[in-house]
Symmetry: C2
């Protein structure tokens, strides 16, 4: 069954009006027919199983809501991924994959060795990035679309990311402290976590020190060295696995 | 330090002769200088720290071996990834990422819903695929380059893949049996595992039945639905995490 996020005010009792873009996708791209079932999502964690009511004019589609239910795939722990800015293709890949993996928010960060400089204006790219995350959330059966924050400086990211139950700084020079050792004692009451992934060239020693001062715990992903994008995905997958284990 | 796999017979006592392609990469691409340290790998799990001895002609490079040591990043359990054939870009991405994650061998498989048909001849692509895996192994600090097998039919893959300590069939219609439950009792004596990842459209019910008849255990990756390439990477990462935990 296909999933679509739509603004919650378009779902009224047992009837939903689909936005023009969603209607177009249903009719022209997916070629769904009158009476077929879809799943609507209101981005608050609720799902609505609904039956298509296409009108003959081929324009806006309505749907008749059959039942509503809480989406069960959302993790209990909200993961915010703090991610060193990098080249566009890799960055977009991480947006897509970490959404599939269950992240709740992504914060792009300028770090010392980031391949992208703070002067850069990203506002033009935000709609494209939000679309990538929405599509990944629909495809993977998520109940919410992760939030994408405006890019932050490293020190601001450290400050904001320290404001959760557990802040993890994935650093390749950390070889002892594993995810398991770090998460095990915190698991029971843990509802929020921040994961920080550095750029291709890694974090600098100064950055690692600053992170420790702000209460971030340096952790290792294990003996094999991951590329930046693999590390980002592995960090989200393994943190949620360990918490849901 | 940069890592390079070279044929083991080029390493003789404390001296190594580097192949033309490796020499070119060292001199022209990486622009390393005489006396710089590199790590040579013989693809048997041994590493050799060595010092470059570039001659003035700028051709083949020799290296003086300073010490040899067993590479410690190799997993104790050899993972063979049985992978439904798919479009080239996605397939190559999985080769790269699963190598980083620690896979020992990859077997491409024609499944019922594979996007690629058995008539196709892949032999021309094998050198490129092997190069992708070698570079990923060098970059991630592996001690071996995973083996890439010739493509197999589904039933042959089932038969060969059942020949290990644990054969896991990742199936989205399996919702109960988790990796943890499956691996926990087997962990202590487990030295080999086969992981089967289906194509975009999933395995058919008939394929799942056949797999069960051959002794494969259907397992779930959890509540969120991964794309094929994400599932492949997650399966390798999580299996090794659970075994090394």
């Amino acid at each position: 069954m296909h999933h679509f996020f739509i603004p919650s005010d378009l779902i009224q009792n047992d009837s939903a009006l689909l936005p023009a873009e969603t209607s177009r996708q249903i009719l022209k791209v997916l070629r769904l027919k009158n009476g077929e079932k879809i799943c609507l999502l209101d981005n608050s964690g609720m799902g609505f199983e609904a039956e298509l009511e296409c009108d003959s004019s081929g324009g806006i589609v309505r749907a008749h809501v059959l039942r509503s239910y809480p989406v069960e795939s959302e993790p209990r722990c909200a993961i915010t991924l703090f991610l060193a800015l990098t080249q566009r293709e890799k960055f977009e890949w991480i947006l897509q994959k970490s959404t599939e993996a269950g992240v709740s928010a992504i914060v792009p960060v300028f770090t010392e060795r980031s391949l992208v400089r703070p002067e850069k204006d990203f506002s033009a790219r935000v709609p494209r990035w939000e679309k990538i995350m929405q599509e990944a959330a629909e495809q993977s059966g998520r109940g919410i679309i992760p939030r994408l924050h405006a890019p932050l400086d490293f020190s601001e990211a450290l400050r904001i990311g320290a404001n959760v139950d557990c802040s993890l700084f994935f650093w390749e020079e950390e070889t002892e402290r594993t995810l398991r050792k770090t998460l095990e004692p915190l698991k029971p009451g843990m509802h929020s976590a921040a994961l920080f992934i550095g750029p291709e060239g890694g974090f600098s020693a100064t950055e690692a020190e600053q992170a420790a001062l702000h209460g971030w715990q340096a952790v290792t992903l294990g003996k094999r060295i991951y590329r930046m994008e693999t590390a980002a995905l592995a960090a989200v997958i393994l943190t949620l696995y360990e918490l849901e284990r």
